[in-house]
Symmetry: C2
């Protein structure tokens, strides 16, 4: 067997090509069944679960919501989310450091029919691999937390390139860190000129209303299009 057969990049390329086919299947299903799927991605400790609970609280009057929690083998997040009165599914990714489209389809199958209006996938905490795998979502929502630093687009460019919206979380801690919003934006724009950026604190609630209102409007517009009627 030649050395080339173990080349990591080529193996991953193969996996990713297969993934794109499955992502298209998820997307077709979401369109057919009139569901909005969000792929929520961030580093470990950026505040994914806290943001998620805020989104649920803000949107649950208007939409039914389901949550898929992806973790290597924990269930702490699913337990937190259940307290917010939504259906949650815990997905164990084993040694895999990201969700792929096939795993996402399996997660969707775990919900009762019909699916909720909105399904939010809380991806594995990781700025690298989840960026490479389209799960068939309508929106890739990324969180960067202030303590991580404003230079992160330089280090993890793909995540900033593929994500649609960015929450800059933990802005209540900005005084403690040397974090410059202008520098962050200057680092983002060459990668993603259209990225919507929302400075928030999921902990104090600052900035969350502006974000969740815009998110609700976006979801309603897309669902109306998918279902052929106003939602």
């Amino acid at each position: 067997m030649s050395e080339r057969s173990f080349d990591i990049i080529e193996v991953r390329a193969g996996v990713e090509a297969d993934n794109d086919r499955h992502a298209a299947l998820v997307r077709e299903r979401m369109d057919r069944e009139g569901v909005y799927l969000i792929n929520l991605m961030a580093s470990p400790g950026a505040g994914k679960t806290t943001v998620l609970c805020r989104i649920i609280d803000a949107l649950s009057d208007r939409f039914s919501i389901g949550v898929m929690e992806a973790d290597m083998d924990a269930d702490v997040d699913a337990r937190k989310v259940l307290g917010h009165g939504v259906k949650a599914v815990q997905l164990h990714t084993g040694t895999s450091c990201h969700m792929d489209a096939k795993m996402t389809m399996k997660g969707l199958d775990a919900f009762d029919n019909p699916l909720p209006d909105v399904v939010i996938l809380e991806n594995v905490g990781n700025l690298v691999c989840p960026a490479e795998f389209d799960v068939g979502s309508d929106m890739r929502l990324m969180i960067l937390s202030v303590p991580e630093g404003d230079d992160k687009p330089l280090k993890y460019p793909l995540m900033f390139t593929v994500s649609d919206w960015l929450l800059v979380n933990k802005i209540d801690t900005a005084p403690v860190f040397d974090f410059d919003f202008t520098r962050l934006e200057n680092n983002i724009r060459p990668l993603n000129p259209d990225m919507e950026i929302f400075p928030v604190s999921a902990k104090t609630g600052e900035g969350m209303d502006a974000f969740t209102e815009k998110l609700a409007d976006r979801i309603a517009a897309v669902l109306a299009e998918k279902r052929g009627r106003t939602v």
Copy 2:
């Protein structure tokens, strides 16, 4: 082609088995050439580069030091480290979210002979994949930063299991976050009863002397054994 041929877990298992063989080659070389190799791992933004510069400043009187900076395609860290007067090599991992042993060997080849006494690999910022790939190091040094939270061992158990020493960084920000050191330790011990834990602030310097002194002693002892004489 059957679905099975695209199973991610099996592909990764194959890559990892191959990696173990290459890690043994790196380890043999480090022993033969009398070099101490550190694999530095953490989340994005945990403070890897700042810690690294502190280590260099504290140890460079006693040892020659080389640094390998692994990033997907940036060079900001290598430029920072160069300011501290050591030889630095920038490794671009492309779409790969971790360093493996073969890539590490390539990085070592980029230094002049003889190799420095100590080579520090700053791995890609990621708590998942780097934990799965032994690069042939003498020590796996992990950083967790206070803003990430004390629950991280529950979410990223493998990283806490395989790492030898843990720096809990950014302790100067502890008042801002609900971070409990006892809770952290209770989460770590079932995974890694022997892990050495050092609370530090790489920014203010708090706790860094205690850590770097212990690290220097450990390196000196291992190098003495590798070289058959006191270092």
